[in-house]
Amino acid sequence: MQMPEPDARVLSIKPQLVKRLREVLPEDAVIDAPEETRAYECDALTAYRCPPLCAVLPSSTQEVSDVLRICHELGVPVVPRGSGTSLAGGALPTADSVILGVARMTEVLEIDYADRVIRVQTGRTNLSVTGAVEEGDFFYAPDPSSQLACAIAGNIAMNSGGAHCLKYGVTTNNLMGVTLVQMDGTVVEIGGAHLDAGGLDLLGVICGSEGQLGVVTEATLRILRKPEGARPVLIGFDSNEVAGRCVSDIIKAGILPVAIEFMDRPCIRATEDFAKAGYPDCEALLIVEVEGSPAEIDDQLARIIEIARRHDPVELRESKSAEESARIWLGRKSAFGAMGQINDYMCLDGTIPVSELPYVLRRIGEMSAEYGLGVGNVFHAGDGNMHPLILFDANKPGDLEKCEAFGADILKLCVEVGGCLTGEHGVGIEKRDLMSHQYRDVDLEAQMAVKDVFDPKWLLNPAKVFPLPVSAGRRAG
């Protein structure tokens, strides 16, 4: 993985830049001391690090606009940052860039239960959005596992998903409006507390644009009333194929669970050793959760169990209480931590058509043997979004490179069977160079044309998403 050479001209104007930024921001909102910029040198893809030229922490849309106008004038690249939990290197700086963090913009601007919307500044964390409406018994649906830390800003930029998106959709389906500041400082209001766009669906393309079209400072989000309750059933199978067929049969039966999670044997073993959730020793395990009143839950679980029985499960455990639900979820929730106990890991995020599940899992197993690296699979089976966790040893020379090659092969496989490189984590730098496996040049050209319109000078997070050779002409200009 390569990043472009930093621009010497930009490096040389650092003093002038910092001075200009201090004119529009409070003293403590401009961070330029090398020992302090280090705090912004990476996101959750920690294998890649580079301190920025400086970092700024504006407190308002106006300040964001002022910062961008100055950077635009001086031709300095800007990398927007929420909480820095991106797994794709989306918030990784370059040495010649300014990190623009929205961490100080955490206010709730409006809550309206009658219209079922909340408006927040985007530095607010995902979980604290739900926290703000909990007293009204409402919640914000997209729930990435990183929800305690990640910001709405990053969620919008990555179009993040979560465990419950089978029923509630991902960020883009729950986002109603944004305040966006363009690179030249122009402030644009898009959408609001009403549905759909009057003209082109700009909101739709801004969501998931990985900080390349503008800095989102405020957002209107849809909030929902909490369901009366939720309970899962755990089902064990002695083959991945059968588990895959069971998922498909549940969906075909007209039941729409809020979550269908899948774990394979390596992952089950690791979590058992780590969390002792009492999972069965089997090839594949499903956790299927449904919502509603106690009677509605009983009824839906009964239907699911009846379908599961037809597939000869080796284990069937229906939760009857909050404690039992917590135990069933315990292993799934500790899966990443458990794999981390064994070794360093890299978390992939490809999506495949659900019907290809057994084939893809078998091929991953074969490749794991060829590469000599362990891999565990835990993922959202209802929508085919896989999270293979490849184990490697960061201290062993060559292991990271081997792991990356293995990861790339898995993602190419996802594309080959009709899927995609990333279901919810984003392209960032991590999958940037694989984009040409999924899209032809003309397809990438159409996407880059959108950036040309929003950010003609290509100063916003420029070295991400598109393979460097493909975006080279634009970045230089």
Partner: protein, 368 residues
């Protein structure tokens, strides 16, 4: 022109030396009148993939919606966004196509609980104004690989490209449904009742207020529907005693609401406004329409006014957007059919259209 393949379409667009009018089934004659040679998508038709177990369907853009719905129906599934059939309101003929539904982002009452076509479109292929064949998205449910041009194409009214193929997420059709109808409410209390229902955990999938009364729909398994109906009845006691419509009547009612049938018969222009629900009662009062139908819990206002009325002039500065759906050609050329955009948004729109259609030949003028 009626291309029989995507390649042929691309060739035609490249060779075009004047404006083109893109047409699916021709049932949605909406927008400022467009002069140009007609390009019809009927030759690009057929479902190319349907996997009920994966809730996905891929079809060419000219495929009739009815064909897709029949195929889904046979597997107990459906297009959850409940597309409106504009023939009823506009008096048009022809067969609505998937491409038309996508290009106009046409949804119905269930928009409020599940979303619009934009939320169900997983991937697109299209021919842009320069004749380039572009593909974006795919056929899987979660996909954040690159920019989401799928959403940009949804509701772009053929101005960025001619859609050739669309992949969709579909959903299971519920076992049954029922509708509570509360009679005699005025707009203000109706919106309050609908907000209360939509803010409950009972998964209301339709909330409208019109000639039938204030209507609230629940869907699901038989026992679920019974439970939810009872719970909602209790929750809404303050608003009056509801009548309950069982499945068959409920379905017929929502078909009529989706197609805005009650505004269809009498003469006049018909406007469609997307607004913040709680502002609907005030706006209804301000607009002095001859008849209104509220959908989406008040978030969607359908209004019939005398021909030639500039409804927006009566609603100075409201938050939301108004579209003139039914009016004579003269009115449609005179009044902006689509909501005028603030300058910075208009600049982005113009920039995108310039990139995707550099010669300005795709449905020029349709957006006003």
């Amino acid at each position: 022109m009626r291309p029989e393949s995507e390649d042929e379409l691309a060739e035609m667009v490249r060779a075009a030396n004047g404006p083109l009018r893109v047409r699916g089934g021709g049932t949605r004659d909406i927008g400022a009148p467009v002069q140009g040679e007609v390009v019809e998508t009927g030759g690009l038709s057929g479902v190319t993939l349907y996997e009920p177990g994966a809730l996905t369907l891929v079809a060419k853009a000219g495929t009739p919606v009815a064909e897709i719905e029949a195929m889904l129906g046979a597997e107990g599934q459906r297009l959850a966004f409940e597309p409106m059939d504009h023939r009823v309101l506009l008096g048009t003929e022809g067969e609505p196509t998937l491409g038309g539904v996508a290009s106009a982002n046409v949804s119905g009452p269930r928009r409020i609980s599940v979303g619009a076509p934009r939320d169900f479109m997983l991937g697109v292929r299209f021919v842009d104004g320069a004749g380039r064949v572009v593909s974006n998205g795919g056929r899987v449910m979660k996909n954040v690989t690159g920019y989401d041009l799928v959403k940009l194409m949804a509701g772009s009214w053929g101005t960025l490209g001619v859609l050739t193929e669309i992949s969709l997420k579909v959903l299971p059709a519920p076992e049954t449904e029922a509708t509570l109808v509360i009679p005699g409410l005025v707009a203000e209390t109706a919106v309050a009742a609908m907000s209360r229902a939509l803010g409950s955990p009972f998964e209301v999938s339709g909330a409208a207020h019109g000639v039938a009364g204030t209507c609230l729909r629940v869907e699901g398994f038989e026992s679920q529907v019974r439970y939810r109906t009872a719970q909602l009845t209790e929750l809404l006691t303050g608003f009056g005693a509801p009548q309950v419509l069982e499945a068959v009547d409920s379905r017929a009612l929502w078909r009529r609401i989706a197609d805005v049938e009650e505004l269809a018969t009498d003469a006049g222009d018909v406007w469609r406004l997307s607004v913040r629900p709680s502002q609907a009662p005030g706006l209804v009062q301000q607009m002095r329409a001859d008849q209104v139908l509220l959908d989406w819990g008040g978030g969607l206002i359908w209004a019939r006014v005398p021909e030639g009325t500039d409804l927006r002039a009566r609603l100075e500065g409201f938050g939301g957007h108004a579209t003139l759906i039914r009016a004579g050609a003269e009115t449609r050329s005179r009044l902006a059919v689509f909501q005028p955009e603030p300058a910075p948004v208009a600049a982005l729109t113009a920039g995108l259209r310039q990139k995707f259609d550099p010669r300005g030949i795709l449905n020029p003028g349709i957006l006003g």
